[in-house]
Amino acid sequence: MARIVGGMTSSHIPAIGNAIAGELFEDPYWKPFFDGYPAARAWLDKVRPDVAIVIYNDHGLNFFLDKMPTFAIGAAASYRNDDEGWGLKPLPPYPGDPELSWHLINALVNDEFDICSCQEMLVDHGFTVPMSLFWPDRVGMTVRTIPVAVNTVQHPLPTPARCFKLGQAIGRAVESYGRDLKVVVVGTGGLSHQLDGQRAGFINKDFDLMCMEKIVSDPEALTRYSIHDLVRLAGAQGAELILWLIMRGALGGTVTKVHSHYHIPISNTGAGLLVLENAA
């Protein structure tokens, strides 16, 4: 039977992708951020998951406002990125696991989640940046991927409570899959940041640190915020916390914190990294 072995969180901002491309790992601005990741990769080397379910939001590459799904799940054999308008270079395509994708889609629709299924799907920095951070070795990488895209572009966004429930349903769906697989769930984005408006550059360290704690020990507390609360407390893009809540919902009630790292700022963002091991 398939099993969710753990969950991880990471910021996914494009500036990280540029810093990786520029190999700025020892750069004084970037070093305190990148230094959080070796411990996460060491955990992955130990656990060796077969599949990563990556919860992210598309930032206007694969989805436009003519068809803006709340929850979209990739069901392709592979996923490629694109230049996103600012000339990003193509990465090797990410292998998918369409059989598990369809199992998830079947189980979730049957469980009253109104999924948009995507048999072709471009993945943007929201997906590729965490993948590059956790699996920098694209030659040796053996993990297959399932992208789960959540609307954080256009309000109404799904409520934090709904997102946590989606995560729980993903957890049940994985557990019901007949194949013997180790699955890790990656919650990307966040923490506090705001790109637009006169409040651009808003960061809320206290709120971020509270989220880093609560997401581990009491995620339900975070589901009581409204989207509007999250925008107010974490900035317009800080609402990406809902992506973490989906990850956390997919894990069991009790998790072990393997690793945690927080750094301000990278570009306009408070960056939070967590590695959580699921209770066996």
């Binding site: 901002i13 500036a15 930032h59 206007g60 590459l61 436009f64 406002l65 694109d82 230049d83 996103e84 308008g85 600012w86 000339g87 572009v153 256009q154 309000h155 109404p156 705001q194 790109l195 637009d196 408006g197 006169q198 409040r199 651009a200 550059g201 808003f202 960061i203 809320n204 360290k205 409204s226 509007h228 925008v231 107010r232 317009a236 750094h263 301000i264 700022p265 570009s267 306009n268 408070g270």
Partner: protein, 117 residues
């Protein structure tokens, strides 16, 4: 469940909701097209013609002409599609943050750094 009553506005923050989405549709559609290199080239070759082709209104055209993020937002622009426009011009989110807050880029970066203390 009733439609949620509109909550208190958040200063300096435009919620990109249905109202904004309706207002900005043409502008955002144009910016979305910049995902493709040939569309960026077409825009840069003749900005006015490209804006007209997407049916931008006068406020949207002026905001594009002025490379002004606050005007673009006020005209219904969504930051994620706008990012493709400003990215094409070689600007990043810190340049745009400085522009929107009326700060120098150095001051804007310093403010972000200070948030970590």
């Amino acid at each position: 469940m009733a439609s949620p009553t509109r909550p208190e506005p958040i200063p300096g923050t435009v919620i990109f909701d249905g109202e904004q989405a309706m207002k900005g549709y043409a502008l955002n559609k144009m910016c979305y097209s910049f995902n493709e290199a040939r569309n960026r080239e077409a825009f840069l070759a003749d900005e006015e013609a490209y804006c007209a082709r997407y049916g931008l209104n006068d406020a949207q055209k002026a905001a594009i002409r002025n490379r002004n993020a606050l005007e673009l937002l006020a005209a219904g622009g969504n930051i994620y599609y706008l990012a493709k426009f400003v990215g094409m011009l070689g600007l990043n989110v810190q340049d745009i943050g400085a522009q929107q807050t009326g700060m120098t880029v150095e001051d804007f970066k310093a403010k972000l750094k200070a948030a970590g203390n």
